[in-house]
Amino acid sequence: MLATVRNFFSDRNVLEVETPALYPSCNPEPMVESFALTNTVAEMNCLYLQTSPEFAMKRLLAAGSGAIYQICRAYRKSESGRYHNPEFSLLEWYRPGFSLRQLMEEVEALLAAVVPPSQIKHHAVYLSYRSIFNQTVGVDPFLATVEDFLAVANRLGYPEAEAICNGNRSAWLDFLFSHVVQAQLPKQCIVFVYDYPACQAALARLRPQQPDIAERVEVFIDGIELGNGFQELTDAEQQKQRFLAQQAERQQAGLPVPEIDECFLGALSAGLPDSAGIAIGLDRLLMKLCGLERIQQVLTFPLGA
């Protein structure tokens, strides 16, 4: 599988890079926890294992690397289950000058090269978040209020959703997407869900004339999330604001608040070319290829059952 991936990018003149897994700073996203390590050397006392190579690779882009890809390990605390292992493999790549649509087509071509036609029978299906959410849940994810989501939860039999989501629109979207939409995505083909609501933007840019839409895409096969892609946010000031908001969220939730990665912000200020980028979970891709049901079955010595 990896050989196929490397040949694919080699043919397209995308450079393979390696960035460190150990960093002096970490991802401030509230939903992801980084492993923190202590070092004996004073200047680099506290180090973190990367949750993804994103910040490092964007620094390379800002330095003029051109199109790059990386196959590496990522580390996330407490993520353990059928599709999660605290240590997992990512394929992440960035295409300066590509639109998100162009990147999706490249993802489609990559997956077609890796997954045999006997397993993926149809052409890729492109669905907007709004349309698939509306179709499966029955309300418009951009316009629905928390009360509308509550009504849906009662109708579909999720009495626990109210307390879990606690009036937070983003939490409701997470809940309904993972419990209702994902299982009903078309099967046996590659599915791209694009145009996410702004509150689910992560590191994606908001569409210039329609800021309620985040230029984000997710790739699914048989309802399993394989990848997360963005038209990357290149505006340093907006990125800084997002970081500050994330720090505030962490503070409020009583979670550790990491320092902001100034090297990364510096790179954005220096100028990140307009790029589309995506990360694919290689273990899950391998699972799909082998027809296996648990990520532990594709890892040599998985943590947890």
Binding site: S78, G81, H84, Q182, A202, E218
Partner: protein
Amino acid sequence: MATYSTNEFRAGLKIILDSDPYSIIENEFVKPGKGQAFNRVKIRNLKNGRVIERTFKSGETVEGADVLETEMQYLFSDGGTYTFMHPETYEQYVADAAILDTAAKWLKEQDTCVVTLWNDVPLSVTPPNFVELKIVETDPGLRGDTSGGGGKPAKLETDAVVRVPLFVQEGEVIKVDTRTEEYVSRVKT
């Protein structure tokens, strides 16, 4: 009783939800990309046996249920209640007929059953997988009489009724699988 975090969820764990004791059958970690993590569990209500699905926010804590499954000897019944005894402590536990449900019809004195206790009170009783009971009433089963699917009803000493082959007679002891409620074989006494 201890509390458990979703990180500790596993099949067989006993928890309290909506004031009832439940046993976890399956635990699934669900995390949409860049989003909140959940635990989606399949759980069995230990009072009524119903299986439901429920989601917990990852990191949430739930109350553990003081549920114990232990082997006990069935002593006797007085119609409304059934009394069991723990073979080691000799402690006696009394269960309402309602809790016994269909288990009652297989019980013979001295039989060993599995009693599920919640807060030290009987919640449910599981009879042994196989019981040997005497037939107290059944037709002779004349040869050639194949109407009724090749078998005949037989009433057992506990009042249970099972379908048995035609050659089995009144007074014989038979082995019954309590899980399928079917005749297994005759037992040589």
